[in-house]
């Protein structure tokens, strides 16, 4: 049973490797792909940056650290090329992340769902190594082979153990080529599998006891892991492993306006793909959803005058987007097409009240002490009272 599973993994890995090779050289897949890789989608920007980058580059880096930071944060190059911002957020975060990669320490990106962890990691890998595909997706079932190496059993049986029969994992390939490997959802991976990373990160080597050999990482190798900090404790990192990482927490949007902007833009995109009719007056309700989410999340009202309890849910921007999308669908199909407080009240309640006992009290308290007295929120208060009752 386990053998067959391993074979599939290994085949998949091999397939991925070949597909990646053709994609990289021929560039056939990129245009057709539903979602092109970062290095393909922004190939022009990367090339422009590389051409004008005269700062020192660490070994096997495609760009200097400054250029990588510019790639992520956006800016204009001396020749007028405009680099679009990939990450909208504090500059400090990107600087620390890039610097970490330059110091050969591994980088751990933490954050609640919807804070662009994967996005940042993909673009970092694309800018540093020109390749964002050396990826291990962490799940509860990720085996050790996905991080170390597997075997091609046909080869193994026919010719005995040799380097030819060995199927390297993305991490092992990154080590060999001095590239950036990525591990997604590190904390979802079982603890014993996680710990295989320790040797790789501290000794920069991967022993292959079956062959009596080892694979050593060449300069330029590094690893970016992402983890959801709400899942902490699921498979918490051992302190030995944690010590190998510099941790950067990706924050939720800093200002309400930025968040409203993100939400309305995403809602607009999703709405179009779902063929929902455009809601004319939605922005007020979006602002309201964002305000409610932010206030409860931060534990303080927007004017900074009243403290609040925070519910157990994450209340991330991604959830705000789904609440508004839901509300739009409700308004379009069952309402008059205009996004009304009633359309979002139920969605908000669902997002806020995750734990029926504690969260409900928090929500009611919020309704009674904050919402009820706020100007222009009467309708919303009433709608919420209706669904909460």
């Amino acid at each position: 049973m386990s053998v067959s599973v391993e074979t599939t993994t290994e085949e998949a890995a091999a397939a991925a490797a070949t597909g990646e090779a053709t994609g990289g050289t021929g560039g056939t897949g990129a245009a057709e792909a539903l979602r092109p890789h970062a290095e393909d989608a922004f190939a022009a920007e990367l090339a422009a940056l590389a051409a004008q980058d005269d700062r020192p580059r660490p070994a096997r880096w495609k760009l200097s650290p400054w250029a990588v930071a510019t790639y992520l944060l956006g800016g204009a190059l001396p020749d007028g090329t405009v680099i679009t911002p990939k990450y909208v957020g504090p500059r400090r975060i990107v600087e620390v992340a890039v610097t970490t990669l330059a110091t050969d320490r591994a980088l751990l990106l933490l954050g609640v769902p919807g804070t662009a962890k994967t996005w940042v990691s993909e673009h970092l890998a694309a800018a540093v190594s020109g390749d964002s595909t050396l990826l291990v997706q962490g799940t509860a079932g990720t085996p050790e082979e996905a991080i170390r190496y597997g075997w091609n059993y046909a080869q193994l049986l026919a010719h005995g153990p040799s380097r030819d029969a060995l199927v390297p994992s993305p991490v092992m390939r990154a080590m060999a080529e001095g590239m950036t490997a990525r591990v997604e959802e590190l904390t979802r991976i079982p603890a014993d599998v996680q710990d295989t990373l320790i040797t790789i990160l501290s000794e920069k080597t991967l022993p292959i006891p079956e062959l009596g050999q080892e694979a050593q990482a060449v300069r330029g190798f590094n690893l970016i892991a992402t983890a959801n900090d709400r899942d902490r404790g699921v498979n918490d990192l051992s302190s030995a492993l944690r010590r190998r990482f510099n941790t950067v927490v990706l924050p939720l949007p800093e200002s309400p306006d930025a968040e409203v902007e993100i939400v309305s833009r995403r809602v607009d995109q999703i709405g179009r793909s779902l063929d929902l009719p455009a809601a004319p007056d939605g922005i007020d309700e979006i602002r309201r959803v964002v305000t409610v989410f932010r206030e409860l999340r931060d534990g303080v009202t927007a004017d900074g005058r009243t403290k609040l309890k925070s519910p157990s849910g994450t209340l991330s921007t991604a959830e705000a987007i789904s609440v508004v999308t839901n509300g739009l669908a409700l308004a379009a199909h069952f309402g008059d097409g205009v996004l009304r407080p009633g359309d979002i009240a139920a969605g908000i309640l669902g997002a806020v009240v995750r734990d029926p006992a504690a969260d409900r009290v928090i929500w009611q308290e919020y309704l009674e002490t904050v919402v009820r007295e706020r100007d222009g929120w009467k309708d919303f208060y009433r709608a919420c009272r209706e669904v909460s009752a």
């Binding site: 620390v96 890039v98 330059a102 110091t103 302190s239 950067v248 609040l308 409900r360 009290v361 009611q364």
Partner: protein, 831 residues
Amino acid sequence: MNDSSYGSAAVEGAFDSGPLLLGVRHHGPGSARAVRAALDAARPAVVLVEGPPEADALIPLAADEGMRPPVALLAHAVDEPGRSAFWPLAEFSPEWVAIRWALEHGIPARFIDLPATHTLAWGREEETPAGADDEGEAGADAEAAGTGAPAPAALPDVRVDPLAVLAETAGYDDPERWWEDVVEHRGPGPRDAFAPFVALEEAMAALRETYGVGGHDRDLVREAYMRLQLRAAQREFGDATAVVCGAWHVPALRRKAAVSADRALLKGLPKAKVDMTWVPWTHRRLARLSGYGAGIDSPGWYGHLFGAPDRPVERWLTKVAGLLREEDRIVSSAHVIEAVRLAETLAAMRGRPLPGLTETTDAVRAVMCDGSDVPLALVHDRLVVGDVLGEVPETAPAVPLQRDLTLAQRRLRLKPEALERDLELDLRKETDAGRSRLLHRLRLLGIAWGEPAESRGSTGTFRETWRLRWEPELSVRVAEAGVWGTTVVAAATARAEADATAAQSLADVTALAERCLLAELPDALPVVMRTLADRAALDTDVGRLAEALPALVRSLRYGDVRGTDTGALAEVAAGLAERVFVGLPPACTALDADAAEEMRGHVDEVHGAVGLLGEAATVGHGDLRTRWRSVLGTLSRRGTVPGVIRGRAVRLLLDEGELAQDEAARLMGLVLSPGTAPADGAAWIEGFVGGGSGGGMLLVHDERLLGLVDAWLTGVPAEAFTDVLPLLRRTFSAYEPGVRRTLGELVRRGPGQRGSAPQGRGPGLPGFDPGPDTGRADAVLPVLRLLLGLDAEEDRTADRTADKNTDKTADKTAAKTDDKTDDNGLVGVGT
């Protein structure tokens, strides 16, 4: 003086271009180090420092053993201790370094800024509102106009911020960082100790050419005074004169101005009689966040930069690691190594010569704190700001707080005596109210001169008793309290605010609010109220909230008695009530008997508090009482709520008139019907009629309810009866003997005869006539009419008759059920 030997021997050319002007950034460790190096190199014969000349006499104290920075020079108006200004000096302040250098080398040091006599008087001229209590403003004023105590970059943005212009020119967005990079982080070069000052002077000269005085018109006056002083010193000591002052002033001091013009500027300045002393200071107060901020965010970091002999970043990160280890975070040397590497790489990436606080903080966050800001806050609090507390030798002149206290004691004719004595105060009298306030304020400051004692006799709210005793060490306490302010009221206010922020529990803050009202500190109330509101918002224990509410409402009433404005208090109390309303129903589920009993107490307390609060101003909170009733309604109907609370809720609603008698009876019938467990029913009855709530009289007057209880009790199965018996006994044994007797009578007589009670023909007690003696009863009627002021109804007489029996042996409730009654169904229940 020994100037010539020193000056000429040490340096070639230090004083070539006149006096040595060392422009600094106040509280800049780099500046301090550069000043020391420059003084070492130049060996001046006199050191002049920017600061109030009245403090010249205090300078030798700086060399005292007992003097430990951070300290501050405090100037205050003699007749008005509240008017004061501070010149904080930390270990790493260039001014402090210069003073210490001069003292160590036996060289005179002098302050040359405009005397505080004038700067304090300036403040007085401008200020119109009651100045005495308002030193915050006076202090700020002195900072802006008188001292230049904050860093130049932090000077109020009147028209131009000189450093911001320089920084912007250099491509920095933050002037502080620019200054740090260009000046502070550059240790003095081994070659030329004066080079940084020369460069800085040039830059400042360029700036001042463009921007003139930059909106600080008073600087002209101050600089004129400084020039005159400098000239006087030069006459005395020759050119070997060093001046340590804010970089901004250097070009002005260099400028040759006519003596007469300077004198003219100084003509007619207002004057105030000023006293000066050293007071201990803290790093927290140097930080920008607190009241008399010296304009630096990170005194701890600066102190470290100044104190560290070499490798400041490595040493700093080791310190951070040590702190985190003390707090039980696992931080190894490897972490420190990685943090240093990250900080240095970040600095390189950001193009800074050395990692600054920003880089080290980023590195600590990423490497040692797992990206979390929580341990980082600790690092900021303990290290970046730091807990350093300065000390001042005992020989320093008395603090103004003592002076203010003495004034108050004289005014209130309250002599400090070592002998213990009691003091009775009548708060309606002006002097006594003042005394009470003073004593309360001193208590807040930890100066336990008076302790409140139990009042003898009268318990009116206008009466207070104190036990007074002045112990010698209280003077020390006063000196210690001097750090909080210069007047009793200001110090108490500051102390109360600090206490509120530091308070652990909600109850502490409530108590503090009460004390603030007693001590009449209206200025402290907003902060206390804020804290209270915050604590209340975050407290998830409804019990604690419910406990806090009555105390708060009580304070509200004190406030009314004393005529304080309690609007904010009412607002907070109403908010607290709201939270209780929301949290109470869920908190009332899944409680055991003891917890339910406790919660019933809370319900009662809240009920009382809401009743009082409903009368007070609750603007914006609608009708609290209506909402409280709906909460009670919810409680009374929810099945998961313990019986005792449900019963209580129904009862309160009934008393409020919210629930009709019929509805109460229906609810009671519901809970006492066979479907409910007997224990629950008994608890309900306990809640409904138990305790000292007059429930007995209710049963006496509403026989329908009594009938329900009666019918239920007779229906309780034998095996359950022993279980409910203790509860029932508790319920009914709390009744007045008379009530119990009447109830017993009613039960024996049987149900359904309300209204005809006087004529009820029960068998009567042994030895008593079955019916009342109407003749004797009638004789009481006129007196009763007199008492009630109306025509007593017929049936009242029945109660009176029953009451006559009170002196008989009290019946136990349980005995009631065992009564040999023949006309109802009780027989056989008690088996």
